[in-house]
Symmetry: C2
Subunit: 241 residues, 2 copies
Amino acid sequence: MSEKPTLFTSLSPALLHLYDLTDAVVVIIDVFRATSTIASALYNGAQYVIPVDAVPAAIEIGKKVNGIAAGERDGKLAEGLSHGNSPLEYTPDFIGGKILVLTTTNGTKLLHMALANGAGDIVTGSFPNLSVVCNYLIHKKKNVVLACAGWKDRFNMEDTLFAGAVIHRVKEHFTIHCDSSFMAEGLYAQHKGHLLEFSKNFTHYHRLVNRFGYIDDIEFCLTEDIANVLPLYQDEKLIKG
Amino acid sequence: MSEKPTLFTSLSPALLHLYDLTDAVVVIIDVFRATSTIASALYNGAQYVIPVDAVPAAIEIGKKVNGIAAGERDGKLAEGLSHGNSPLEYTPDFIGGKILVLTTTNGTKLLHMALANGAGDIVTGSFPNLSVVCNYLIHKKKNVVLACAGWKDRFNMEDTLFAGAVIHRVKEHFTIHCDSSFMAEGLYAQHKGHLLEFSKNFTHYHRLVNRFGYIDDIEFCLTEDIANVLPLYQDEKLIKG
């Protein structure tokens, strides 16, 4: 019998309840752009990030901690917030030493859903911090659930591809009996050499690039290990682990 | 502006509510084995198939219509039913002229869920009746939702592959802005030449073949157009359309 821990991939927040999160490391994945932005902010010196699931709460908490209240709804700057959800906004000059209070359409909501489902060990993952997330999973030797944020509960390509990238690197350390994981890894293995080109087919690419012109964001969010830091959830904050 | 109807793929019953079924053709997909078995029974001369979502109801209705009450739970013959969910059981000699009352873990439940969500135009699809399903979708010129049954709300490979096979053949007739559909078609395009070999990696293959020895079923269920008939839902029955 194998003594390896299990690994599952949840392709949408609406499927998260199918997996046991209580004794697992849960990786929150929202590649475009919440979890890439969290990696960027921490890598560039933010004290920590407070993920918040609603805009009014982000504004209120932002004031209370004297932080930067930021975030988006439907891919654009949320009303009442002064900063958006672009990883490129959070340069060392701007974010160094500061607290980021972040709310987004899918990723920060999913993190709170994971908490509500009993998750006790949560990190956030994105291509910019791929390696450090993989190393964490390998060293923890616990069950893993890769939780894709998707778009309003729909499956999306970029989060699934990142799940596939993780599986591609860690699979020999886990027992994987999960079609979602098998599909995700196959997808990544087929397209890893040309992710940016491949992304032009994604619905989210159309939203971000054709509607808002965020091509530099897309490129950052698909670059492996460009902000290689581990965002670890502790005491309602994401800290550099 | 394009005047083409839309096509979406729902990867799990737990995602079905995200799609508008009211003005669409809904294709119920449960490749291993419900929708393959429905195609087989109708192709081999069954009068019609009554899909039922619970075992006791299948037994009761079977008696009432003097039909064959059949079905499975968790991949094996359901208690109280005399026939299972293998497409190979339903030969012309056995099923010709008879009524099949069928209940399964995922497929027949999904059909009733689609009805509850307002679907008015329902067919069932599987590799054995791929071409006739595609022709129906092209000629109806209505929006399409490809509804995968999965396994207890989890994503599975075989239903997604079939959705991909449909998309591969009909895509120029539809507006497709849906990552699930894009993924499914890519998966099918990559593996269409070796589906049986590829299926050895699926969780459902392990369940059906390693636990129950149903390798002949798997082969039938992955053979395109071997029972090329259209199961059309009308008046609580699936009839040959």
